[in-house]
Subunit: 291 residues, 2 copies
Amino acid sequence: MSQYLSPDVMEEIARDPSAIKLGGEKREMTVLFSDLRGFTSLSETLEPEQLVQILNTYLTRMSDVVFKHQGTIDKYMGDAIMAFWGAPRPQPDHARRACLVAIEMVRELEQLNAEFAAEGIPKLMMGIGLNTGQMAVGNMGSQRRFDYTIMGDAVNLGSRLEGLNKEYGTSIILSEATLQQAGPDVRARFLDLVAVKGKKEPTAVYELLATDGLSTNGALTNSRADFLAAYERGIDLYRTRDYISALTQFETALRLDGDDGPTAVYLERSRELAANPPAPDWDGVYVMTRK
Amino acid sequence: MSQYLSPDVMEEIARDPSAIKLGGEKREMTVLFSDLRGFTSLSETLEPEQLVQILNTYLTRMSDVVFKHQGTIDKYMGDAIMAFWGAPRPQPDHARRACLVAIEMVRELEQLNAEFAAEGIPKLMMGIGLNTGQMAVGNMGSQRRFDYTIMGDAVNLGSRLEGLNKEYGTSIILSEATLQQAGPDVRARFLDLVAVKGKKEPTAVYELLATDGLSTNGALTNSRADFLAAYERGIDLYRTRDYISALTQFETALRLDGDDGPTAVYLERSRELAANPPAPDWDGVYVMTRK
């Protein structure tokens, strides 16, 4: 198991072996899923030696960020990384640590892209999903091979949120549960309501923006603040079903940031819903019709 | 790496270490993905100790089937298993071995379900996807943790075929590439044309039925043969766009096997396409509109 845990956690377990319970147990934890966009297809055009070298460099750099914040790497799946906080030792700030790691991973990738560019390697883009909830954790596997891993609906939701980044053109999506525990300086903007297995009510999901602990001066620039204000006014109007007024706000936001994926998504939806208003009992969950 | 490989393969590598190339390389291989239906949700209602016990029993039994046919377990992901053939040592019959394992896994699960029923554990259902093609294989991971693993579009297609079982109510779906190499006694029926990343033409996918090497007498029962004949006549008519005649055949097939998922799917599609014929340049790839 030594290769999966950060050295800090390993040391603590060596000092107090009772901190790790080897059977299965249920805990509130935070899971992180990350995935590179289009890397598998890129891998088709690379020589396998180069592929493995790029992949191993990428995974090493990202894993170091996870270990820096005392996370456990659950597994790699190709270029995807699954990591968690809250076990084997309790980490009451598991949600916050996962948020910090997500932001640092995106920054580390920017740095890595700059280094790769010098070697002629195309720019890599990343999506990250974070969720917090009750998860089963323990040594699972066959008699020949056990992994210390997690499972449950809350784990699956984390993976689903990772995939949602493709729909919104975002980098980090977190659930309401993670946001609520992340601490007041972890900033996010509302993205959407999604239907979640095993829950009657749709749950809100957010895009992680930055944290005071990490941004250089702890403040948004004025133009960024203006952009976010327009986006959030648009969201409020959209949620009260005033699609015409929402459109105006999203148009303002898009003028301030023409590359913003969520604004483009809501602009399109507002146009569609203004033309075809939903039924009065609509729960606000937008069912995507495109693939 | 010892925990990942079958004892046979380990012995062979010990005798001839040159058989395993430690850098990345590209090889034609066959990948197998399996997944339990609804196990994650079931896990929410189990005590974690019981969950881990059931999971570990399941994974041990299924892994033994993989090892029996000299496969390599790539990884477990919750209750999902990823395995491959064709590396580290060459296995020219990699497609055939994977097919035999898929069938034996389904049979092993039937046996396991009988044992679980005695303990009051609900019946488990499995989906398996198989694909054959060029894959990158090597030791991938971070400096702290390397896995001998595979990646590439051909790997991803195997995972996608596993998921397709949910659409058709089937247990084992394989690609045309796997079927072509599996040997004449590996039986399959045509399921559908699917669009595949990186290929211009849609590819045919099949349901694995049984193999002579495994069925008790190497022959289908008469009623099963009648059912398959009606299904296949329906498919032929459907592919020539004679949806009305196809409907009649699928109705016959459904009278012979009322539980057959693919027949129910084609009955619904034939009705829909009879009422709304597709454009003349339609490529035959049905775009699913339900979730």
